[in-house]
Structures are given as C-alpha cells and as structure tokens.
Subunit: 480 residues, 2 copies
C-alpha cells in the first residue's frame, strides 16, 4: 500500500478526470493478474508476494496525460506498470508486484494514419492488434502479426515484449516492423524517434524500447510496416520420417533464400500428441502416421508463389518429406486460436512451457540435449517441441511438457523449478536466450545477469539513467 | 597537444609494444585526414581547426588491448578516435579534431568463424570488407555489402556508421546484418551483446552501437549474416520517360513484395550527365536517348529469379519503361568502383553531395522540392539525383551537384554552406534524415538537435552515461 494514497488519487484525478482513476476492489483485482494460468506459479517460484495488488488503475487517453502521470509517480516514488493486453501468460510482466499505478493503455486506441505509399500505419499504442488488422483489411492491407494473443495484445504491448506472430518469416517480429515510436520517458519527457528506417543518423533509438517490457518508459504511439493483402496464398504440408529431416529441410528453405510466410516444424511428439493435431487429423481424416510435420505458406504474386512451391517441394522431397497437400497447413492456420479456448480434457498434474531462440548451429543439438535430459529425469513426461519461427540465422524452439501424474513426491512448483532450471542451463550452453517471444518479466529476471554477462551492466546503466527513481515496472527484466 | 605526452606514450607502449604506438609526423599526418576531398571544406564550414592533429596513432591487436587503451585515455582525459577504413568521405567522422589517440583497428583483422549452418561469420572489426568477402567467397558465401568504400571500409567502421552497399535491397545495410557485437565500452569494459537475433530477452543492445560513430565505444568483433553465392543472377534495365514513372515503378516493385538485390533509379540528369552513364553509353553503344534509368538485379534459385523477372517486367512496362535488357545493369555493377578513381576531366568550381532517407509519401515531393529550390537559386548548376537504396517504407535520395563556374562572387565554401542548409531545411520539412548512409560526423552534428527534437536529450544521456569523460570521438554526432 502506498503512502499518501488520498493525495496521489487527487493528483491523478486532476490529470485524467475522476472517472478514469480507479481503486475499487473489482478493478484492482482484474489488473493484479494477467490471463496467465502459470503466473501465480511463476510468482511463487520467484518468492514474490502472490497477493501483490495495484493501488490505482488509471486510463490516460494521450501521451500528455501519461507524461503527467509519470511525473506524479516520480514525485511520490511509486511504481507504474504499463498495461497492454495482459497476454504475456508466462512471465507476469504486467503484474504490479510492488503495487502502485497500473497504467492501462487501451483508451489510446486510435488509428492515426494509414499510409498506402510508405506502407506504414501510425496508431496509438493501446489499440489491439486484431482491431488494427480490421482497419487495415478494410483498405486492403495487413500488418501480419498474428500471435497467440492476437485478440487482446496491444500494439504497444507487442512491441514492448517483442512478440512474434505465426507469419513471422515474412512479417518479422512486431519489433522488426517498427519504423518509429512515440515514447514517454520515465521523467515524463515525450520523445519521438526518427521515423525513417535504415538511416545513418545516429543509433536507432526505437530499438531501446523494443523488448524493454515497460522498464524504460511508456510507448504511446507506433508506426509500423504494413503489407498489401497478398494476391495469392498457397499452403503446403509435409510429413517427414524424423524431426532431423524436417529441421534440415527448413534450414535448406532458408538457405535457398525462399520467403515463406509460414514455416513451422513440429516434432514427432508434437504431431502425435498436441491437441491441435489430434483435432486436425480427425477433421481432415488424415492417417495416424508417425513423423514430424512441416506447415508452410507462401504469399505474393502468383508466379513467385508457384515458383517458390516448386523449389520448396524439391527440397522437402529430398529430405523424404511426404507431401500432404495444402489442406493441413490451411486448417492449422484457420484454427490458429482454437488451441487457446476452451480447455480440452482434464487438467494434468503439471503442464509447462519453455521456449528459446538459438542459431542454427546449436538448434538441433539443443533440441536433442533438452529432450533427452528432461526425458531421462521424467520418464512419463510427454515432451512436444515446435520450431515455429525461422529466421535467416536460427530459429525458436518451443517445448510443451505434460505430466499426467505426479513424479514421485514432487509438487508442481518443484517440478516447474527443476525443469526451468534444467532448461535454462542447456539454453545457455547452446547459445539460447531466456525467451524467443514470451519475454522475461518477473519470472525469468533472475537469469538475466547470467544471460548477458558483462553486458548486463549496460542494461542496468540504461535503466538507472532513464529511470533514477526506478518507478517503471520494477521487478521485471532488469532488477535494480 | 596533450599534456604529459611522454608519460602517456610510455603507458600506451606498455599495452601494445613500442612498435605499435606512433607519433612521428608521417603517421600523424596520414591519420589526421580521411580520404575525403570534401572534408577540409566540411571542417572549415564548421569552424573546426583544419590543422587538428592526432597525438598518437595506436595499433591494438585485440579487445583486451583496446580496453587498456581506453582506461589510459580516461585517466588522462584525452580523446580516442576509433579508425576503420577512413572512407567516410564527407563527414570527417574519424578526424581527430581535438587531438588525442587515433585507435587504428586494422590489426584486428582475423576471420574467426564461418558458420555455414547459421549463415553467419564472426570476424574482428578491423578486417576490410573486401578481404572478408574474399574469405567468404572461397567457401561459397557472400556478405553482400558492396559500398563505395568496399576496398577500404572495415567491418567495424561500416557498422559504426551504418553504411549501405549497392545490393542493399537484399542484404540490408550492414547494421541490419548484425547478429551480435563485441564492444569495448568507454570505461574499458568488454561486453558481448546477445548473439541471437529476434529474441524477446531485453532490448537489442547491438543497436546502440550501430550508427554510433564511435562515440559510445569501440566495436572489436562482429557476427553478421552471410548468404550462399546465388545460383543465378539476372540483370534488368529500363529507361523511363520521366523520373516520376521510374519512382512509381520502383514503389510498385516493393509493394508487390518482389525482392531484387539491386534496385536503383537515376533521374534524367543522372542518366544524361553522370560520368558512369556517359561511359556506359559509349562502351555499350547505347543511343543518346533521354529518360530516367532503372537498374535491377535478381538473385537466387533460377525459378524464382525468372518469375521475378516476369512480374517486374510487367510493372515497368505499365510505367512506359523501355526494356534495355540486362547489359546496362550488369555493366554498371561490374564498374561500380570505376567512378571513384581516377578523376575524370578537370576539377569544377564546386562539386557537392547531399543525401537523405525518407518515407515514400515524401520521397517524390522532396525530390522535386529540392531540385527546384536549388535550380532556381543556381541556374547553371547540374543537379543529378539517384534513388539507390529502396526499403519497404521508403528510399534514399542522393543528390550530386556540379557548378562549372562560380555563381556571382560566392566562394566554394559559401556555396556549400548555402546548399547544405537549403537541403537540410527541406529534408526536415519532408521527414528526411541528415544522412541515409554517409553518417553525421563533425560536419553535420550541428543539425542533430533539430533532427531529433526532444529525443536528442536521450542521445545526450546515453553518451554521458557511457562516456562521462567524453573521451570517445568527441565533436562527432552528439556534441556535449
């Protein structure tokens, strides 16, 4: 509980009007948790108080108001947690672990300018990605960022956590799409980065805020790349005898310079056990054949798409991929959010996820090392792995792990702690990161000094310089 | 002249050995100028002493030595100018305007690791881009960065100035290719950024140093993307009735998602008067026809290249482009460095360049605004413009200006000052940057506060935090 609550309340009300500052129990409860099922667990693992509560929820409508709010927070030295969609399910990155102000950004939701020549859209940071997409679709464009949280993730939240959508090979991460940002710095100063990509006029300041998880300021507006809706979409699906073949084919697709919009590999367990593939096989009457599945999509001018199909097909066949046609990939994309709601089947004893990004030289090694290490520790665990975001130099690995029954007398928290720690040890050994697209938050912050080594001091210096009172989302990412 | 020169000399010699610290007149003279013909002019315009001289030239061979040198510089509070190829011809970005130490990086020139799976190369920062390319070619790869300074630019220098090569549409700027950096911070701390692209594990620290012009530290090693040498290269050339048609065709090529490796537009004056095109027309016996020329190249799997050719051809023909075949584009690329040496013809009264990057919505407007404004001021000036780097959202504009005779009684310096100032006023009006790929240096630093607005304070804060004694390349980019 902050001191001087009444005084602060009054000051905040003067900025946004009394209607837009809330401290009633209902509102506070809502903003004390994100939608993460795993979040309480994460907080308990980190020894953070699970009873953490915001003191205020505030709804500013523009950067000027955000600026005033941050000045008030500095004066009273109370935390400010910028809140987007609350869809960072694993990391608790918007949980107000030290109370203070939850700064809800969703009133800042206007599309300011769709620029069909420059292929950019400028919008306020609180707009949800699906709403922005709807506005763009009306004009024949797309932003291309269809992540798990598509229906709740905000533009600013996506950028602050550097999230990734299903079509990342073409559209990049949302951070890659940023052309320019408006940011309110912790001291209340409103800045605009240069809104021109690829210049040679100083370091690209936007990049400081991409993936910064709200610890360096509040993103209030973003200008990101858009793309014309494609002339043609072509789907392909291949079932490989093993994940090794699928990984090799994926690397060759990248190496040949092909530009798929979708390129996912799911290993044998993923194809066999993941609920979305059980559902797909049933709906499409696919045979119960073992293997590792690759789903692809190409978009663009018809001729390029067809040429890409021929080259890709040859690559996949050289790796003994069985052509399942376009339907599985299309079905998967059409049901990309089916997975999330409602829950399918009974709750297991434990379910968890770890995910990382690494260079291709370590990608396959890390896959086998982690799978074998965990499987030998937990014989009954089902370990499924997806390699779902392919870049020029490497890819993500996303492990879903399921224990139907308790292993010995371990509690779910003990299992989670053990598995996470085992995973991160191997991630670091094989040059992987704490996260490819889930972010760090409160849950994984303790791993950051090891991840960064001496460079961690640079992160700390940035944080201290920009936010000397440590008001911005304290306890997340960089803990000072 | 620094104080305690003898003492500093001795300390530096202890770090690198006496052979590798020089303060003889010859060496000092060499490192007091880059190869820029326009540099003295630039310094005079900025009122900087043209007689500025380094006190020491030092040749470290590794990051550890660089670290020790920076510690010595901090102790004595003397400037350190990291020196790459010295090929930033216009901006004086490595001129030691306040004396001190020129830190020559070219002994750090080893290729450490070519990773054919991850498609990256790790090399020390002092290696020249052409040498790195030779090493990669032996293994069937290319880095793809063929800028004007290809034969002298170093890897670290290219990254520190965020330079661009002729094949930027495919390979990006060299800054875009960075996967990870080793940097010695001004305080001597050696850090490595995360060597994984597209992660969600904090802001991408590499980006702080890309385009930082040596004011935030010394890049000592870089890991950048590489590409297999292409299966096929296909050239195309079109002559458009006007630059408007050529600009429109270029925008459509981008909008359709085509991926040329080379995409250049030269306006009517460029095609008519630029020495490289006079030479080309003569050598290829091309007709003396007026128009705006577009040069293209596609690389990759044969099928994709051929499909790209068909789509591009249709776009260019819709804009009344006359197909000149592949030969002009191939000739141009084969002679890409012909332009630089030796000088062709007599020295004019004045020759100058300004260049910028802007979004497509302003690109054509800025082109005409600047051309008309300058032409009305200087009737006899030949103004040639190239739009040579095309990105998803915008492109560069590169103006070459030539006055054979003095305009009235103005001196070359007065002409340069007037033209630069006129150009920058219009750049800012149309959302352009101080530079697309030449960088800022000492010459254009005075425009940065206006360019950045309130965000300039963030640049200043970064500089002051990382380099409290202001030893790193003072007087460049951000002047504190």
């Amino acid at each position: 509980m902050v001191e001087n609550k009444e005084i602060i309340m009054q000051e905040l009300q003067e900025v946004v009007g009394s209607k837009y500052v809330r401290c009633d129990e209902t509102e506070i409860s809502i903003y004390t948790r994100t939608m993460g099922r795993l979040e309480d667990l994460g907080l308990r693992i980190r020894g953070m108080p699970v009873t953490a509560k915001a003191d205020f929820v505030i709804y500013p409508e523009n950067a000027k108001q955000v600026s005033e709010i941050l000045k008030i927070a500095n004066k009273h030295k109370i935390p400010v947690v910028p809140y987007g969609g609350g869809s960072a399910v694993f990391t608790g990155s918007v949980v107000p672990v030290y109370g203070g102000i939850v700064l809800e950004t969703k009133r800042m939701d206007k599309v300011k300018y769709i620029d069909e020549d420059s292929l950019v859209v400028t919008a306020e940071a609180g707009i949800e990605l699906f709403k922005l997409e709807e506005e763009l679709n009306k004009r024949g464009f797309t932003h291309g960022h269809f992540g798990g949280g598509f229906y709740c993730t905000t533009l600013g939240g996506g950028i602050a956590t550097n999230g990734a959508g299903r079509l990342s090979p073409k559209y990049g991460k949302i951070g890659d799409a940023v052309v320019g940002l408006e940011v309110v710095l912790p001291n209340g100063e409103i800045i605009r980065t240069l809104h021109v990509p690829h210049h040679s006029t100083g370091p690209e300041l936007s990049r400081l805020f991409i993936g910064s998880e709200g610890i360096l300021g509040v993103i209030t507006e973003a200008t990101i790349k858009i793309y014309p809706l494609p002339e043609e979409r072509l789907f392909m699906s291949f079932l490989f005898p093993s994940v090794r073949n699928a990984f090799r084919a994926a690397r060759m697709i990248i190496k040949q310079g092909l530009k798929p919009s979708l390129l996912r590999v799911h290993d044998e367990n993923g194809w066999a056990f993941a609920p979305e593939f059980r559902y797909m096989r049933k709906e499409l009457s696919l045979p119960e054949e073992k293997g590792s599945i690759m789903l692809l999509m190409f978009e663009g001018p018809s001729e390029i798409v067809k040429a890409s199909e021929r080259v890709t097909s040859a690559i996949c066949k050289r790796e003994e991929g069985k052509d399942l046609g376009g339907e599985p990939a299309k079905f998967w994309l059409d049901h990309a959010w089916w997975y999330f709601y409602p829950r399918r089947g009974p709750r297991p004893f434990w379910y968890g996820v770890v995910e990382t990004a690494t260079l291709f030289r370590n990608h396959e090694k890390l896959y086998f090392a982690l799978k074998e290490t965990l499987q030998s520790k937990y014989k009954d665990m089902i370990i499924m792995c997806d390699s779902t975001h392919h870049w020029h130099t490497g890819a993500s690995l996303y492990f879903r792990m399921l224990l139907e029954k308790a292993p010995g007398n371990k509690s779910p928290i003990e299992v989670a702690e053990d598995i996470e720690d085992t995973a991160f040890r191997l991630f670091f050994k094989y040059g992987g990161t704490v996260s490819h697209h889930h972010n760090v938050g409160v849950r994984f912050a303790k791993y950051l000094p090891e991840q960064y080594g001496p460079a961690y001091q640079l992160l700390v210096a940035l944080k201290k310089t920009l936010d000397p009172n440590n008001i911005m989302n304290p306890g997340k990412l960089v803990v000072i």
